[in-house]
Symmetry: C2
Subunit: 289 residues, 2 copies
């Protein structure tokens, strides 16, 4: 009996075509994908013109991708999919530091620095100090924990975006916590910044009246022996867009006060000039099972 | 109060970000897309590695697209989305000739030919005659109806795929029905053929043990004054893969017997040599409202 393709049996027919997929996980993923994709097309009764526009959009996204730009990740980001995947794959006790997106500006690897060093190689931004402790879930300090830190400058640019202005490694540092799990580094207060808007994803944001901004944040990957590493952000509490991150990466537990300190003595103790901003950030890792 | 991104509120947060979209239709489509996309990711608990693989796959699909190749349409085809959109947008009375996918090999426009002409310019394939009538929904003949016909040859290739073998226009013809809505043309019996498998979509079919073949068919776009045009196929009933078209374009009503005729007199009447194949195809159009 020949196939008869109809609205109601379409998804079943496509799912059946994947029945001989050797990898059962791939078969399950494709089955769910087809079910949800067809449901979407049917629910909105997608027109042929809209389908053509979707094909053109996806093609433009693909053509925007090269070894320096990943527009599909950007699309995944602004649709909240990247953060959803991140969240699904980092379920753990609530007390553990929450994970968030890696973003496109991580480099392998950041320059090793000593505790207290400044990652602001130009020394021209508003001074800022971040300090804290890395501990295990039960509160035990984690001596020798590693912190891979990177951030945009006070104009909202990463070093790799401004090769003529910033030396490579500016805003980056690899720190090792002391015998009590303590860390400290000096930097500039990072600025909020827009995700790239010169591609099809920027056009989508524009057509939907969405702004492209990410609130100010410092990236940290925290790792320690015998513990699951965490990819996270330290968000600046009083940053613009803290409530409407274009890529949905904000979790409340990751927002930190960057307290303004005007006391010159306190500034001197930290090796900066007053006024400066001071954030205290405790990072909690889960023992690996 | 700052946003807190969680598994359960993720889709709502993304949907809310599209709330100010000026075009209400775009807002509705994006709302449904986000809902279904997040449901998919949550249902399968997509891993970070799988997400990366998906990003790589979509990027490869985009990079395969140029002015001669549309890999995203191919992806839409093998997921049954193209046919679903086609079906949703061509709802009509059951008696009307069903529509199916246009495919990538239509050219504007086919060479005009006279009724009874052969579209087989090389004369080296198994002879075949297609004849029939174009009528309105109530059975009234539609004199002057136009039939834009194109097909692969008996090796499964369209003219544009074999520029060194086939003259341009081989397998193509624009016919005008006579005063009784009748049409007739000679051709070769088309062969089944594979969709392109040298890209990421071919790799997907390979990984899922799906064959890439389309059953033998002749494309026709039928149009007549005051009637909705129909983009359709005439499928060859005894073709391999008639039950498992790689792009799901088969509807039962579009399958036609290509009867083998061995009578030399009948062959002579049609201007071919015996044995030949003969298909009778009536095409029914719906009056435009």
């Amino acid at each position: 009996m020949a196939t008869d393709f109809t609205e109601s049996n379409a998804a079943d027919a496509v799912i059946a075509s994947f029945a001989d997929t050797p990898d059962p996980r791939l078969r399950n993923v494709l089955t769910s994908l087809v079910r949800h994709l067809h449901d979407f097309v049917r629910d909105v009764e997608l027109t042929s013109a809209e389908w053509e526009k979707a094909i053109e959009f996806l093609t433009a996204v693909g053509h925007m991708c090269d070894d320096k730009r990943q527009e599909f990740i950007l699309l995944s980001d602004v649709l909240g999919v990247s953060m959803l995947v991140e969240t699904l794959n980092a379920r753990g006790p609530e007390a553990v530091t929450a994970s968030t997106v890696l973003g496109p500006f991580h480099v392998v690897e950041s320059p090793a620095r000593r505790l207290g060093d400044s990652i602001d190689l130009l020394g021209d931004g508003p001074p800022c100090v971040v300090e804290g402790r890395v501990v295990s879930l039960d509160g035990t300090p984690l001596p020798g924990a590693q912190l891979d830190v990177w951030q945009a400058n006070d104009q909202g640019f990463y070093d790799v975006q401004q090769p003529d202005v910033q030396p490579l490694g500016n805003g980056r540092g690899l720190f090792t916590a002391d015998s009590e799990g303590r860390f400290r580094f000096r930097t500039v207060l990072p600025s909020h910044y827009p995700i790239p808007t010169d591609g099809p994803v920027g056009q989508l944001l524009n057509e939907t009246n969405r702004h492209p901004y990410r609130p100010a944040h410092i990236h940290i990957i925290v790792s320690a022996d015998g513990h699951a590493p965490v990819v996270t952000h330290v968000f600046v509490a009083d940053s613009p867009y803290i409530e409407s991150d274009a890529v949905f990466a904000v979790k409340r537990s990751l927002i930190h006060e960057f307290r303004e300190v005007s006391d010159p003595d306190e500034a001197e103790r930290y090796g900066v000039t007053a006024p400066f901003r001071l954030a205290n950030v405790d990072l909690v890792l889960e023992p690996e099972s």
